[in-house]
Symmetry: D2
Subunit: 141 residues, 4 copies
């Protein structure tokens, strides 16, 4: 599990006075990118090697409304990974009291530039699997 901290931006609110629901998917992405970076995988390297990683499924369940200027925690865990896809789980919490704002999932698949499914090369896959297994031993999220 990886935890990022961020703060709700004014632009992320809407006229109901709370964070617009679509922004949670941006936070999930920040968590996913940071998780991969920590695992030693840079998305720019993947792209330079000819791999894309489109999202094929995204889901968010909203429990409470985050508001402007609140400090949040973005908790990210890799719950499933193979050479053709990865599934991440997320929780967005209020930093002050750990209140759960939302939780969700995304699935990415790996493809080549022609949009065909591509198997992730070993050196990427092993780094990701190893990092994920270390994270799970900590038993977090």
């Amino acid at each position: 599990m990886l935890v990022l901290e961020d703060r709700v931006r004014f632009v992320e609110t809407d006229m109901m006075g709370v964070v617009h629901h679509a922004n949670y998917f941006r936070w999930f992405e920040m968590g996913r990118v940071a998780y991969l970076r920590e695992a030693g995988i840079r998305l720019t390297d993947l792209m330079a090697d000819g791999y894309l990683f489109p999202i094929t499924d995204a889901r968010c369940t909203y429990r409470a409304s985050a508001r402007f200027d609140e400090e949040i925690l973005i908790k990210t865990d890799l719950v499933e990974v193979s050479r053709v896809k990865m599934v991440f789980a997320y929780q967005i919490r209020r930093k002050a009291d750990n209140l759960l704002f939302a939780e969700g999932f995304t699935q990415n698949v790996f493809t080549n530039q022609d949009n065909k499914v591509a198997r992730l090369p070993n050196h990427y896959f092993e780094r990701l699997r190893d990092y994920a297994s270390r994270g799970r031993q900590e038993g977090v999220l």
Copy 2:
């Protein structure tokens, strides 16, 4: 079912050269707002009457990648409605050949300003239920 037309904006793309996945939830919202407007329900009226309508669940499954400047269809249907919640289903398709880019669901609940669940007054609920039942008779989406 309600069908809106729109065109992919440059800002909606990302460095993979396709529409960023979070934008589909913006398109779903456009469909939902238009559906409610057609049913005779303006969100500004709901808010003026003290009701909020937070999203509690949002999901999208991605089938193909929409690209810059493509004309799209946003197809929206109300699949479940009660005095406390509404569930919408969506399809995003390419206008040229009806290719399915993505499909998804959202659930809104109705609350008061204090974030407590609130029952939608009859005059709103009946308009929505009537409009939905007419739509279903057409058997579309």
Copy 3:
């Protein structure tokens, strides 16, 4: 001059209850893209030919606040064009009564993939200049 119609999206509002100011630059872009398309220039063709067109200057002056669900007009004119840059002017108006919400400018330069200034080939430049000169004869914006 080119006029597009659009409608304020819920996601475009912020907790002040009006459209967030950054969204006007998205509307300017919609106008600019449509103007170029009408002139016979597709940005995807430009990119396929190795040209990029980064924004080097953007400015907006806000006169009144657009609100959710209002229908707007995006008025776009090309006020300066050469083989190395183009300057567009914009007005965002309320469709109902022509109220001016905002007006602004952007400047794009043309570059190659290595970010060096590149001169636009004749067939692009002439289409753009001809379309702009026809527009100016109409004396609009």
Copy 4:
């Protein structure tokens, strides 16, 4: 002057492979909000007291293109302030080598809920003026 650090999000890029120009205005806002917070002014307090602070002018000049995952500095300074308006100046730089990506300005005015210009009460104004004068003595930005 106030310096924030942030990192370019994937969603902030566009199909030219660089940060979309509209996002710089989101970064300016982050800087402005943080500056006001440090000065002891919370926008939620201002709003609770009946004040709004719409942007009336926004400008950005782009010098170089920020890219995905780069760490950036958001430098913010208050260059003019009175009881009716405030003007901020910004620089966005690459953290690694201080490369200037963009610089810009925004002007906010203070209004009441009916959109009439309102004079900022003394306790807000003095905090802001005092914080700004301390910042200028440091001679930064």
